[in-house]
C-alpha cells in the first residue's frame, strides 16, 4: 500500500493500475449495493469466483463487487467488460453458464438480456438499455465500474484528478469561484447556491472550521445518497477534501444515518484507505494541506437531516434545530464555522473541477444546472435511481424511464420532495423538473424522491401518512410544529374514519398556514405541504370521505367492510349474497341484492365488475367470479318462481318527470316509486331500456330477461310514456311547469365524428346509431365486408352483431390490444368468433367506388407517452394501406344530444351538476348517468339514479316541510363465519356457447350460466372480508366456520 506523495507519483500509480488491467481484460461486475444484496447478489458473487477458479482464470478475469447503478427493478445486475454486456436478474445458477459462454466463448446469453416491453427487442449493451440510455449518468455512471472497497478502482476511472487540480493549481478562492460559476445548487433539498455557501464559510475568520457531509437521507422513498455513498465513497471524500481546502477546514465529518449500515461500513473503510494512500491526513499528496475525516452515525431521527439539528447530534445532544442566524457558516459545530452539504453535492464537486464549470453549467435549465439523481419508486414499472439533466419533464421520467404504471392501472399523482413535498396530478406531468418549476405546481424537488401513485392510492391517506411520520419525527421544541402537526393529524384521522365534518377542510387550511409560518425549522415549516397539495388537487376525495363517508380508492379501512362492496358504485353487499347463495338460499340472496340493485339479472350479464378487480382473493389465486354468481342467483330465484317483496313508502303527491328510460332513469323512477311517488318516464324510443336494449345486443342480454326486470320495476308504480321525445313532442319548459321535479338521464347515444374525409358517405355509419337500428328492426344489412373503427364496448357490440348478420368483420384500432378500453372478455369473445383485429392503424380517408367503400389507413408506431398514460400512435411516413369494405362503422366514442336542454347549464357535451346533490343549475332539475359523466358503466347509471331519487325526495320534502323518506330495509340474516380453510383454486369460468354456434343466431345467449354445484363452490372461495372486518372490531363475535 504505497503512500502517494506527489501528483507525479499519483499519475504513475494510476497508469500502473490502468495498464495492469488492460483495456481488454475481462471483468465480471456484479452490483452489491443494498438493493441487489437484498435480492441475493452475494449468492451470485461466490459462484462466479468459484467458477473462475475452477477454470483456472483467476489472473485472467476479474470479478468485481460494485456499487449500485440504479436499475434496482431488475437486480441482481451483472455487467461483463470489456464488451459491456448487461445481464439482468442474474441467479446463482447462471454464474457457470456466464463464465463458459460469455467470458470464454464470447457468446451472449439471450435469456438474461433486457427485453423491450413494447417491441420485444433485446438489448445487449448496458448503455443502450433504454432505462440507462435516456439518462445522463455523470455521477452514478461510475458505480458499476468501481468496487467501493477499492481505491485502485476509483483511481482507474480518474479519481482524485480534481483534488490535484485544486490543491496544486488553484487557490482556495479560485476553487470557490469555479463552484460559483458552475451555479451548482445544493442537492439536499433547499437548493442554496453551493459556491455562495462556501464563500460564507471561507470568509469566517477562525483557525478551526469544519466541513460536513449530510448523509442523513431521511426522506422515505429516497435512496440516491445511499447509492452514491455506498457505491462510490471516494467520490464524496474527494469532494469533501476539495471543499475543506477551499474553505480552510482541516476536520471533516460524514454524518450517516444508522439505517444504512453498508454505507457506514464502506465510507469508514474508504477513509482508512484514503489515509493510507495519502489522500487524507497530514500533507495530502505532498501539498502541505492537512485534512482528516471521521464517520459519525445517526441514531434514527429524521429531524437530524436539518443542518442545525445535525450539528447538535454531532455534539452528542438531542437533535433539536435552533434559530438561524447565526448560520453554521458563521457559528456551526462546537460554535466554529461549518459547512454542511448533501452527499450528492459533495460528489458533484470533482465533476465540476474535472469538466470545468462551463460544461457543467451547459446542462440543465437557467436556474438549475447540471444533473440530478432521482429515486423513482412506488407504482411504477422500472423502480430505481435515474440521473437526468435538470429540466426533463415528469412525464419523461415516469413513462420513458420508469415505463409507466404497472398492472394497467391509471396514474394518479407523483409525490416529490419527501414529507416536505407535494403531490402532482396528471395534468401537470409536462412540468419540467427543477428547483423553480415544481414549486409553481405546489410541490418541491426536495432531495429527489419521486413516488408514483395510482388509482388505488387514497390521497387523504397520503396526507395522513406524511403527518403521522412527521409527528413522530418532530423534535417537539416548538409549539407550531409539535401541536400544529398533531392537530392536523387528529383531523385527518377523524376524516379517514368517517367522522369528518364539513368545517374540517377550512380548519385544516388554517392550521396548515400557522404551522407553516411559525415553525422554527423546515420540518414544521413544510409539514403542511402534503395536506395543502392534496387538498388543492384532490379536494373531491376529501369531500367523499367527509360528506359521503366513502374512500373511493379502498384504503381507509374504517370506511368499508370489504373492498368489493366499496368498489361497487351501488354498494352491493357482495359477501352477503355470496354466502346466501353458497347455502342455497337463493330467494334471500336476491332480496338482498334488490336492496341496492334494481337490475341484477342485467348486471349479472353485462357489468364490468369493479368488485372483481379489487377482490382480495386474487392475492391467493384468482378473484371470485362475483358477477356470474349474481346472475346465477337471479336465474335460480326466477326458476323457483320467486318475486321480491317490496315495501312502499307513504304515497306522496308531488309529480316527478324522468327523462330517459335507460338504466339511470329506470333506477331513479323505481326508487322514487318505492318512496311513494308516482314518477313518469319520458322515453323517445318505442321501449324502455336505453343502452341496455338499443346498445347491448340480445346475445349478451336476452330481451326476455331485460323485459322481465324492467316490467317488475315499473309495476311498483311508474307511469311510462314511450315514443315521446322531450324537445320534439314536449318541451323542457312545459315539463318544468307540469312537474315538481325532474331527473334528466338521456345518456350518450351520438357517435363522435372521426373527422376524416368521406365520413359522410352513405355506408359510413355511427356504431351506436346502427345498434339502435338493429334493435328497431330498421337496420340495413351491412354486407359481407365490414370495418369497425374503435376499441371500446360499442365497437365490440357492432362487430359481433355484424358477424351474426353474416359479415366478415375487421376491427381497426390505432393502438394495441392491451390499450383497448373494451372489457377483456368482450375482446376475446369477439376474436373467438372469427373477427379480425388490426392494431396500430388509423383511418385517413374514405372514398366511394363502384364496388364499395375504400378506406385509406395509416400504419402507426407508438412514440412518446400522451396524457392518457399510453404511448401516442404516430403515422409512419409513407405507410398507407387501403382496403375496400361494404360498410364502415365509426365507434370511437359517444356524446350526448342536449338540443332539448334549454337553460340547463352544460359543460362541453355533458350536463353540469353539483355532484353531491345531483342537481343542475335549475332548482328541481336533477341529472345523472352518461349525460353527466360521459359514457360510463351501467352500474354508474344505477348509482346516479338512486342518488338522484334521494336528493329529489330531500328537495321536495324540504319544500313541503316534511321529513325525507326513511328507507327501511328488511334485515336478512347472513351467516357470519370465516371460511374453514383456504385451498388454492382457480376462478370458475362461465361456460359459453361455442363460437361457431353463437354466430348463427343473433338471439342465442353466449353465456350459458353456472350449474348449482359450480356456483356454490365458487361462492365458497370468498374470504369473507366483511366478517374479518367486523370481528376485528368486536372481539366477542364468534367467527369460526
Amino acid at each position: 500500500m504505497p503512500r502517494i506523495n506527489s501528483p507525479a507519483e499519483l499519475e504513475e500509480f494510476r497508469q500502473d493500475i490502468i495498464s495492469k488491467r488492460g483495456p481488454n481484460k475481462p471483468c465480471i461486475a456484479v452490483c452489491t449495493g443494498t438493493g441487489c444484496l437484498a435480492l441475493g447478489a452475494a449468492k451470485v458473487v461466490s459462484p462466479f469466483k468459484e467458477e473462475i477458479k475452477k477454470q483456472g482464470l483467476e489472473t485472467k478475469v476479474d470479478v468485481r463487487e460494485t456499487g449500485c447503478p440504479g436499475f434496482c427493478e431488475r437486480g441482481p445486475l451483472t455487467v461483463i467488460y470489456p464488451e459491456e454486456i448487461c445481464y439482468l436478474q442474474v441467479q446463482p445458477g447462471d454464474a457457470k453458464e456466464i463464465v463458459s459462454q460469455t467470458i470464454v466463448a464470447k457468446k451472449v446469453i439471450d435469456r438474461l438480456l433486457y427485453v423491450d416491453p413494447t417491441t420485444g427487442a433485446k438489448t445487449v449493451h448496458e448503455s443502450e438499455i433504454p432505462f440507462y440510455r435516456k439518462q445522463k449518468r455523470l455521477l452514478i455512471g461510475n458505480n458499476i465500474k468501481v468496487d467501493p472497497k477499492s481505491i485502485d478502482d476509483y483511481l482507474a476511472v480518474g479519481g482524485y484528478a480534481a483534488l490535484v487540480k485544486a490543491l496544486f493549481h488553484q487557490t482556495p478562492e479560485q476553487v470557490i469561484e469555479m463552484v460559483k460559476q458552475s451555479k451548482l445548487r445544493g442537492r439536499g433539498g433547499a437548493g442554496f447556491p453551493t459556491g455562495l455557501k462556501w464563500e460564507f464559510a471561507r470568509k469566517s475568520q477562525n483557525e478551526t472550521k469544519y466541513v460536513i457531509v449530510n448523509a442523513d437521507e431521511g426522506d422515505p422513498g429516497a435512496f440516491m445518497d445511499r447509492a452514491v455513498l455506498e457505491g462510490n465513497p471516494f467520490s464524496v471524500l474527494e469532494g469533501l477534501t476539495i471543499g475543506a481546502y477551499a474553505m480552510g477546514a482541516h476536520e471533516g465529518y460524514v454524518y450517516v444515518r444508522q439505517e444504512y449500515p453498508l454505507a457506514v461500513e464502506n465510507v469508514t473503510r474508504a477513509i482508512k484507505k484514503a489515509e493510507e494512500h495519502g489522500f487524507l491526513g497530514k500533507n495530502i499528496l505532498g501539498s502541505g494541506f492537512d485534512f482528516t475525516a471521521k464517520v459519525h452515525r445517526g441514531a434514527g431521527a429524521f429531524v437530524c437531516g436539518e443542518e442545525t439539528a445535525l450539528l447538535a447530534s454531532l455534539e452528542g445532544k438531542p437533535g433539536e434545530p435552533r434559530a438561524r442566524p447565526p448560520y453554521p457558516a458563521v457559528q456551526g459545530l462546537n460554535g466554529k464555522p461549518s459547512n454542511i452539504n448533501n452527499v450528492e453535492t459533495w460528489a458533484t464537486i470533482p465533476l465540476i473541477l474535472n469538466k470545468g464549470p462551463e460544461q457543467f453549467a451547459s446542462i440543465g435549465t437557467e436556474g438549475s444546472k447540471g444533473t440530478k439523481i432521482f429515486s423513482l419508486v412506488g407504482k411504477v414499472n422500472n423502480t430505481g435511481l435515474v440521473e437526468v439533466p435538470m429540466g426533463i419533464t415528469l412525464r419523461d421520467i415516469i413513462y420513458e424511464l420508469g415505463g409507466g404504471v404497472p398492472g394497467g392501472k391509471k396514474f394518479k399523482a407523483v409525490q416529490t420532495g419527501g414529507p416536505s413535498g407535494g403531490c402532482i396530478p396528471a395534468q401537470y406531468l409536462d412540468t419540467e423538473v427543477d428547483f423553480d418549476e415544481l414549486p409553481k405546481v405546489g410541490a418541491i424537488m426536495g432531495s429527489g424522491g419521486m413516488i408514483v401513485m395510482d388509482e388505488d392510492t387514497c390521497m387523504v391517506d397520503v396526507a395522513k401518512y406524511f403527518l403521522t411520520f412527521l409527528s413522530t419525527e418532530s423534535c417537539g421544541k416548538c409549539s407550531p410544529c409539535r401541536e400544529g402537526i398533531r392537530q392536523m393529524l387528529k383531523i385527518l384521522t377523524r376524516i379517514s374514519e368517517g367522522k369528518g365534518k364539513e368545517s374540517d377542510i377550512g380548519l385544516l387550511m388554517e392550521l396548515a398556514e400557522s404551522t407553516r409560518d411559525a415553525s422554527l425549522c423546515a420540518l414544521g415549516g413544510t409539514a403542511p405541504n402534503s395536506v395543502l397539495s392534496t387538498l388543492k388537487y384532490f379536494r373531491h376525495e376529501y369531500e367523499d370521505h367527509i360528506l359521503h363517508k366513502r374512500c373511493p380508492a379502498g384504503v381507509c379501512v374504517e370506511l368499508y367492510k370489504a373492498k368489493c362492496i366499496n368498489a361497487c358504485p351501488i354498494g352491493q353487499d357482495v359477501p352477503g349474497y355470496l354466502s346466501l347463495v353458497a347455502e342455497g338460499r337463493y330467494e334471500e340472496a336476491v332480496s338482498l341484492i334488490y336492496q341496492t340493485n334494481p337490475l341484477p339479472g342485467v348486471c349479472g350479464r353485462v357489468c364490468t365488475h369493479p368488485c372483481t378487480d379489487v377482490c382480495l382473493r386474487a392475492e391467493t389465486d384468482e378473484p371470485v367470479n362475483i358477477t356470474k354468481i349474481k346472475r346465477f342467483a337471479v336465474d335460480m330465484a326466477k326458476r323457483r318462481g320467486y318475486t321480491v317483496k317490496l315495501k312502499k313508502g307513504e304515497p306522496k303527491e308531488e309529480k316527478i318527470a324522468v327523462i330517459g328510460g335507460g338504466p339511470g332513469g329506470l333506477a331513479a323512477a323505481y326508487s322514487l316509486a318505492l318512496m311513494g311517488y308516482r314518477p313518469t318516464i319520458f322515453e323517445e324510443l318505442p321501449e324502455l331500456g336505453g343502452m341496455l336494449r338499443y346498445g347491448i345486443p340480445a346475445y349478451r342480454l336476452p330481451r326476455d330477461v331485460l323485459d322481465q326486470e324492467i316490467d317488475f320495476l315499473m309495476r311498483v308504480g311508474v307511469e311510462v310514456k314511450t315514443n315521446t321525445r322531450v324537445g320534439r313532442d314536449i318541451t323542457l319548459e312545459q315539463l318544468q311547469k307540469d312537474y315538481d321535479a325532474m331527473f334528466v338521464a338521456v345518456g350518450a347515444h351520438k357517435s363522435l365524428p372521426m373527422r376524416i374525409a368521406g365520413e359522410d358517405l352513405p355506408g359510413v355509419k355511427g356504431g351506436a346509431e346502427y345498434l339502435r337500428e338493429v334493435e328497431l328492426g330498421t337496420a340495413a344489412n351491412p354486407g359481407k365486408r365490414v370495418a369497425v373503427i374503435g376499441g371500446g364496448d360499442v365497437a365490440m357490440d357492432i362487430s359481433r352483431s355484424c358477424r351474426r348478420m353474416g359479415a366478415e368483420v375487421t376491427i381497426l384500432y390505432r393502438r394495441e390490444r392491451k390499450d383497448m378500453p373494451a372489457s377483456k372478455e368482450e375482446i376475446s369473445d369477439a376474436l373467438a368468433e372469427g373477427i379480425q383485429l388490426k392494431e396500430l392503424v388509423a383511418p385517413k380517408s374514405i372514398r366511394k367506388t363502384d364496388t364499395g367503400l375504400v378506406l385509406e389507413m395509416e400504419l402507426c408506431e407508438l412514440k412518446d407517452f400522451d396524457r392518457s398514460g399510453r404511448r401516442r400512435p404516430v403515422p409512419i411516413a409513407g405507410a398507407v394501406v387501403t382496403q375496400e369494405y361494404d360498410t364502415i362503422f365509426s365507434a370511437i366514442g359517444q356524446g350526448s344530444d342536449l338540443m332539448f336542454a334549454g337553460s340547463i347549464e352544460t359543460k362541453g357535451d355533458t350536463i353540469a351538476v353539483d355532484r353531491h346533490r345531483m342537481v343542475t343549475n335549475l332548482p328541481g332539475v336533477f341529472a345523472g348517468g352518461d349525460a353527466v359523466i360521459g359514457p360510463a358503466r351501467v352500474v354508474d347509471a344505477l348509482s346516479h339514479g338512486k342518488k338522484a331519487a334521494v336528493e329529489i325526495d330531500r328537495y321536495l320534502a324540504k319544500k313541503a316541510g316534511r321529513e325525507p323518506h326513511a328507507e327501511s330495509l328488511e334485515k336478512i340474516q347472513v351467516t357470519m363465519t370465516l371460511p374453514k380453510e383456504v385451498i388454492e383454486t382457480p376462478k370458475a369460468e362461465i361456460p359459453k356457447l361455442n363460437p361457431a354456434e353463437r354466430i348463427k343466431d343473433f338471439a342465442a345467449e353466449v353465456e350459458l350460466g353456472f350449474d348449482e354445484e359450480t356456483a356454490k363452490k365458487e361462492c365458497g372461495r370468498c374470504l369473507r372480508c366483511d366478517v374479518s372486518w367486523l370481528a376485528a372490531r368486536d372481539k366477542s363475535m364468534p367467527v369460526a366456520g
Binding site: T34, D219, G221, Y260, A299, Q415, Y465
Partner: protein
C-alpha cells in the same frame, strides 16, 4: 451484563460528550438494549448527566430501554413501501408474532419495529430480519420468512 464489554466500547471513543450517541449505538447493538447500569457507566466516563442521557435515549429511535428479542423484525413503512401495501405486511407480521411495533414477545424471540425507509424502495414492500433484507413481499410470503427463525 459484562462491564468489560462497555469498557471496550468506551475505549474506542474520545472521553467527551460528543461521543455519547456513537457509544450508545454500539452498546445497543451489542446488548440489544441499554441497561441502566450501562448508562450509569457511560454517564460517568463521558461526563454527561444521566438526565441528558435519558433525554437522548428517548429522543432517538435507535435506542431501547427495554430488552429486545433475539430476532429484530423491521417492517419498512416508508412512503414507497406504504403505497405498495406495507400496511398489509405489517398486519400479517403482527398476526404471526402477536406483537405490535415497539413490543417484544414473552420468549424474547422477536421484537417488532417499523422503520421509515431503508433505501431499497425498488424492492418494496421490504422487511428486514436481523439485518437481512426480504423484498418484493406478498403478505403470505412474509409469514413464510418468519417461520425460519428460532
Amino acid at each position: 451484563m459484562d462491564n468489560g464489554t462497555i469498557d471496550k466500547i468506551l475505549d474506542k471513543y474520545p472521553r467527551d460528550p460528543s461521543s455519547l450517541i456513537q457509544v450508545l449505538l454500539e452498546i445497543q447493538s451489542e446488548l440489544r438494549w441499554l441497561p441502566k447500569r450501562a448508562l450509569e457507566k457511560v454517564s460517568k466516563t463521558l461526563n454527561v448527566p444521566l438526565s441528558r442521557i435519558q433525554h437522548i435515549t428517548t429522543f432517538y429511535k435507535a435506542f431501547s430501554l427495554v430488552p429486545k428479542g433475539r430476532h429484530q423484525i423491521h417492517v419498512c413503512t416508508g412512503t414507497a413501501c406504504h403505497v405498495r401495501g406495507a400496511g398489509r405486511i405489517l398486519e400479517v407480521v403482527e398476526d404471526v408474532t402477536g406483537l405490535k411495533p415497539g413490543l417484544t414477545d414473552q420468549d424474547f424471540k422477536f421484537s417488532l419495529e417499523t422503520v421509515n425507509c431503508v433505501g431499497c424502495c425498488a424492492l418494496g414492500p421490504v422487511m428486514i430480519v436481523d439485518g437481512e433484507h426480504h423484498g418484493k413481499l406478498a403478505p403470505a410470503k412474509s409469514k413464510d420468512v418468519l417461520k425460519n427463525y428460532e
